[in-house]
């Protein structure tokens, strides 16, 4: 009984994002570096040498940072503050095609394809996590999504212990060779349609362990990844952004831009909107889900 009042006394701390803006989501410093907007087209060959993961490249069009390899150590920002800065906001997930970042043309096609696949999932999406050689911090950040500040159950996202019930596979780690077989088995055990998110720079590219005899430069070769979230580790908001991106449930204003910059987003009538509670819609969604589950491996 005393716990009940303790729980109620605290009030509601849960974020309203993505329906409403959350400044911790949109404005706080991210742990990824980027080229300063004013510095595009500049060249600084020495800058590439300061990056411990080889994410900084001197290209024809100017300096570039491959975000999938950035661990946010800040070495480039410290050495060349005129060229590089830390990005802000949590919109750092990218749709991927195979093991490379999708081009703008491909993104549109991928988005349509994913939206078609995930339509049936509606507002009941189950996550299964596999650690394929992480440093342990990504697990904390994924777990944080279930604390009262994020509480992603409110968006119809749940954890499931069984791959048989999972729609979304969240993979962390460098693709440690000892975890490749268990990871592949987990992926195979999931019904269709399924989505795979690689969480963390380690999972995208192997990060600092990319050259290890026991790593695989990320998990993209082991499972068909749909979305990358770089960051070492990515913040809970960045992971949530990635999940919603994979499900095609990001409000338009939050997509592509700095992430939820607009102050309010009107609720959308479609099923992809978290506000949708129409009985007939959810009914057909669950019916479709039934069908798709039966198509999956048994």
């Amino acid at each position: 009984m005393p716990w009940l009042s303790r729980g109620l006394n605290k009030g509601v701390v849960t974020t309203k994002w993505p329906r409403n803006e959350d400044r911790y989501q949109s404005e706080s410093l991210s742990n990824l570096a980027q080229v300063r907007p004013g510095a595009t087209g500049l060249h600084q060959p020495e800058a590439a040498a300061v990056c411990p993961t080889g994410a900084v490249a001197d290209r024809v069009e100017g300096m570039a940072i491959e975000q999938s390899r950035c661990i946010g150590c800040g070495a480039c920002v410290a050495a060349f503050p005129d060229l590089f800065e830390f990005a802000t906001g949590s919109a750092q997930a990218r749709l991927v095609d195979g093991n490379h970042e999708a081009s703008e043309v491909e993104v549109a096609a991928l988005r349509t394809a994913i939206a078609t696949r995930t339509r049936a999932l509606g507002r009941s999406v189950h996550l299964r996590h596999v650690d394929a050689g992480s440093d342990g911090s990504e697990e904390w950040e994924i777990n944080a999504l279930f604390n009262p500040y994020y509480d992603i159950n409110r968006l119809g996202l749940f954890l499931t212990p069984s791959p048989r019930h999972a729609d979304l596979l969240v993979v962390t780690g460098i693709g440690a060779t000892g975890m490749l077989a268990p990871l592949a088995r987990t992926g195979e055990g999931m019904p269709h349609p399924k989505l795979v998110i690689a969480v963390g720079t380690d999972a995208c590219s192997g990060g600092l362990w990319a050259h290890s005899y026991a790593g695989s430069q990320g998990v993209t070769d082991a499972v068909p990844v749909n979305v990358w979230v770089p960051g070492s580790p990515p913040t809970p908001f960045a992971i949530l952004y990635a999940i919603l991106l994979a499900l095609g449930r990001l409000p338009d204003a939050a997509e592509g831009s700095g992430g939820g910059r607009s102050t309010s987003m009107p609720p959308r009538p479609s099923r992809s909107s978290p506000q949708s509670t129409s009985g007939s819609t959810s009914g057909s969604a669950s019916a479709a889900l039934e069908v798709s589950r039966k198509e999956g491996p048994t």
């Binding site: 990056c51 596999v130 650690d131 440093d135 440690a176 005899y213």
Partner: protein
């Protein structure tokens, strides 16, 4: 014994055992291949004696008398030596693979993985900066064999529950084979190798100053502690004392990391006992501390704060007062809920007497951190070998209020005491930093020429973290990180005397082991 005394290895071993009998503590054993240009392995014993760490080397050809029968703390380290270097400790009680289990390449040929130290300073495995991703691949990828360890039943009426490596919830990969007649857990096997990342070899050949980024990611939930231990070793090599303001910042972040680590344990115990409000409250506090760390340094895990020679430049702006207020409010709220938690009988009933770690066993194995302190092993690096800002503060090792308990509740009580102690240190650091004149601050000293071998150690959230480094002309030749997780997980075999399967999550949460730091 007389046979032993004839060889130089034997004499070195006798030295180790004599010193341990005289009160030294074995921190760990590690090997280095190809040292002195020979093909033999140099095995180094790290001993904690009084206020310093001592390194004792011995050359090992192919086999040597195992240290484990005389020094139980060496048990897992000798298994690792066997895996990594192929050396054979004769009379070792159980030489099953630990980190390398039947490694083979993609065409199924057995291959010995690179031996740590082998590539040394000659290694050129650093990334070619700016090169295309495709050209940076490892030369040979090696895979462990899933059939490498015995999985069969060992007694009448026993059956095996394979638990892992993919487990329920969001946890690190680790496999337990629980052998049980139904309820009790008479025997447990821990298979850690699935997550092996090749950490030690990945350090080699890198620039020593850059190595701190790797150290932060050896055990991601204790980044500040790892970076500090690593940097201490470098500073020792360079003969540099970090500026006092940098020492304060390191302490501030290390103690916040300790608070978060312990809050995680409290939350997991609440989860295991189905105390939903407790879980929500303590995960909420954890989030608040993570956001505070993010506001202080831009990283929720305190990454890139600690740099060799000091800390990265800090902003001490006008929000000072606000921060102190925030810490104060948070501390009050945590203490308020802690007091209720420790009188909630549905919670405490699950902890009392569960996962008993015998103080004698804890002492002989040299248990570290809260696990050791709860079983009367009063080891705390902040007290035993004070470093940085702790030199002036006289931290004492926490002891559980009900002495010699050694169960899950004792480990929780030690952690709760340490949360309170850590808040004291955080408040102290914030106050001291607030009084510093902003324009005269020096955050880091330059480290000069780096060459030689040194150690660094700190008290991380889960206990003692030790780094032994060998550097040649600023390049890393051999790096040996020893985590508290590695040292304590060995004891996980010994805490299931009277416990049943449903006690498992409590015992595991109370150990708070990060497998990333075990199998490296």
């Amino acid at each position: 014994v007389s046979d032993l005394a004839l060889t130089s290895t034997g004499r070195a071993w006798l030295d180790v055992t004599t010193r341990i009998e005289a009160g030294a503590r074995l921190v760990g054993l590690y090997g280095t291949a190809g040292a002195n240009g020979t093909d033999s392995t140099v095995v180094t014993a790290v001993l904690a004696e009084g206020d310093h760490l001592d390194l004792l080397d011995m050359n090992v050809e192919e086999e040597y008398p195992a240290l484990t029968p005389a020094v139980p703390a060496a048990f897992w380290y000798e298994r690792v030596l066997h895996d990594q270097f192929g050396v054979l400790p004769v009379n070792h009680p159980r030489l099953d693979p630990l980190v390398h289990a039947g490694m083979h390449d993609s065409s199924n040929r057995a291959v010995q993985p690179p031996r740590p130290g082998e590539r040394g300073a000659a290694a050129t495995q650093g990334p070619a900066p700016g090169g295309p991703a495709g050209t940076l691949g490892p030369t040979v990828r090696l895979f462990p064999s899933e059939q490498a360890l015995p999985r069969h039943l060992r007694g009448e009426g026993l059956f095996t529950i394979p638990h892992g490596p993919v487990r329920s919830g969001v946890v690190e990969s680790l496999e337990f084979l629980v052998e049980t007649p139904g309820e009790d857990i008479p025997r447990l096997q821990i298979r850690v190798f699935a997550k092996h990342r090749g950490v030690e070899v990945s350090f080699e050949g890198r620039d020593a100053l850059e190595g701190v980024f790797l150290a932060e990611r050896v055990e991601g939930t204790a980044s500040v502690a790892h970076a500090s231990a690593y940097c201490q070793a470098l500073e020792d090599l360079a003969g540099v004392q970090i500026p006092p303001e940098a020492a304060l910042v390191r302490m501030l972040h290390a103690e916040l990391e300790r608070i978060v680590g312990h809050l995680e344990v409290v939350a997991r115990l609440c989860e295991s006992s189905a105390l939903a409000v407790g879980l929500a409250k303590f995960t909420g506090y954890k989030e608040e501390v993570q956001r505070l760390r993010h506001d202080l340094c831009g990283s929720r895990f305190g990454r890139s704060v600690v740099v060799p020679g000091g800390v990265a430049p800090q902003r001490l702006d006008q929000t000072r007062h606000h921060r102190e207020q925030r810490v104060h409010t948070l501390r009050k709220a945590i203490n308020h809920d802690r007091d209720l938690l420790m009188v909630t009988s549905s919670f405490l009933d699950r902890l009392r007497g569960t996962g008993f770690l015998d103080p004698t066993r804890a002492a002989e194995a040299g248990a570290v951190g809260p696990v050791g302190r709860a079983s009367s092993v009063a080891v705390d690096v902040r007290a035993d070998r004070p470093y940085g800002a702790y030199r002036d503060l006289q931290v004492t090792a926490a002891t559980p209020p009900h002495a010699s308990l050694g169960d899950v509740q004792a480990r929780l009580e030690v952690r709760l005491l340490e949360i309170d102690g850590a808040f004291d240190l955080v408040e102290h650091a914030l106050e001291e930093l607030a009084h510093l004149p902003e324009h005269e601050l020096n955050w880091a000293h330059r480290l000069g020429h780096l060459d030689g071998r040194a150690t660094g150690s700190v008290e991380g959230p889960q206990g003692e973290i030790v780094y032994a480094l060998e550097v040649r002309d600023g390049q890393l030749v051999r790096v040996w990180p020893r985590t508290a997780s590695m040292h304590n997980l060995m004891l996980f075999h010994d805490v299931f005397h009277t416990d049943v399967l449903t006690d498992f999550p409590f015992i595991e949460a109370s150990f708070a082991v990060s497998n990333a730091g075990v199998v490296l």
